[in-house]
Symmetry: C2
Subunit: 247 residues, 2 copies
């Protein structure tokens, strides 16, 4: 024991050698992986790609890519999302970094995970413009296939994160079209939180925040009674920031 201590002291003071296991990680790369949530037809979905390259060729995976030399992580995430979906100007947030030494079979790749929330359906079609994927699909979060790498873990942590965040920040609106009904908004909350909410309490609380603008306009093209449409009022949201919203 004393011997080991002496050895260590010598090592640090002499600065002459380094143990192999102490070598830092060189020649590594890092990537961004995105958990991209979408809401459509009452289902919460995420975007998956079918890989066209080894490793994990033909497996489903989260969309992701390597970070370039001269871009920041946030810039990189935006670029990658844009390349994979054709979309820009989306609320994205870094939430965790995954770096197990063996998470990638071909060498060390530390992956910085982001999530994004976006409105599906109708107006904006997805136009992926990259060849590293055979195809991209929206998949219901309740029905995920086996994922490549540690992507299941990355997804789990991402879902956990937005569960917490939806109570503090108006991220639910990012999933909805500009004009939406209170029932649609409640659906989003219920899907993300994974539980039913009381309709009256939900509406009471949502309206009490004063961040919804009643558009004096009704849904069109629906069977049965049409609901009032609302729009999210970003300016009024400022005061609300950071407060807990419980359901």
């Amino acid at each position: 024991m004393n011997c080991l201590r002496l050895f260590q002291d010598f090592r640090f003071k002499s600065n002459l050698f380094i143990l192999k296991e102490e070598l830092p990680q060189f020649n590594s790369t890092f990537s961004i992986d995105c958990v991209i949530f979408g809401f459509d037809g009452g289902e919460l979905k995420i975007l998956l790609i079918e890989r066209n390259e080894e490793p994990f060729k033909d497996w489903w995976a989260l969309p992701g890519n390597l970070v370039r030399a001269n871009e920041s992580l946030d810039q990189s995430a935006s670029r990658i999302l844009n390349e994979l979906t054709g979309l820009g100007d989306i609320y994205m947030e870094q939430y965790y970094t995954f770096g197990d030494p063996d998470r990638h079979p071909q060498g060390r790749v530390v992956s910085i995970a982001y999530y994004a929330l976006l409105r599906l359906g109708g107006d904006k079609a997805l136009k992926p413009i990259s060849t590293y994927a055979k195809q991209a699909h929206w998949v219901n979060v309740k029905d995920l296939p086996k994922l490549a790498f540690d992507h299941q873990q990355i997804f789990d942590k991402g879902l956990e994160k937005i569960k917490r965040r939806i109570k503090h920040q108006p991220i639910a609106f990012e999933l909805l079209p500009e004009k939406f009904t209170l029932t649609q908004l409640q659906n989003v909350y219920e899907l993300i939180l994974g539980k039913k909410l009381d309709k009256r309490n939900f509406r009471k609380k949502m309206l009490s925040f004063g961040v919804l603008r009643d558009l004096d306009e009704k849904q069109k093209g629906v069977s049965f009674r049409a609901a009032t449409l609302y729009r999210f009022d970003k300016r009024k949201y400022a005061k609300l920031f950071g407060k807990e919203i419980s359901f």
Copy 2:
């Protein structure tokens, strides 16, 4: 515009060349930086080192180091904390990754930030065992010097994080000795949250959680009335997990 589009299509389909700006980041390294909070003598402090190497030689900086080839990020954080303080078995958590391309003047270093909370004073002395720092000091968070790199930013984000976390998880106890008084506990909350709390409400709420065990024991060696000592009861904490604690 059409021309650009055609060019892009060709680029993706032919797969023959790559634009320089599209090169991924190779030969990069990553590091861990730690914001290590300590509580001592009524002050909230963090551990800083005075750098002994370029760049930023002689500047104060957060303790941090490069990740090794065969360790996970969490392992790396624990190792680095241990090397810098001699301590182990500390609650640590990854909270953000900083990766601006120019955050390190000598090349790209993506840094994964962790925070740790630890009890100071008395029993365990700090024994840093590394030469890359001239010295390590505990510095009051209210009185930080200019920090190297983007470490001020890393610190700010870390403080923000534990402000939020202290309301959900019993991290305050990590800062205190095993036996502590309610007044000490309140001090920790007040320092982290940066505001005064009402004594009666604080005690009422803390005791109502049922995670404190009254030790039937009093402080010793203090002038004036001695306070009752408590211990944190980990088992009873389980039910509390995840609930918001507001002050």
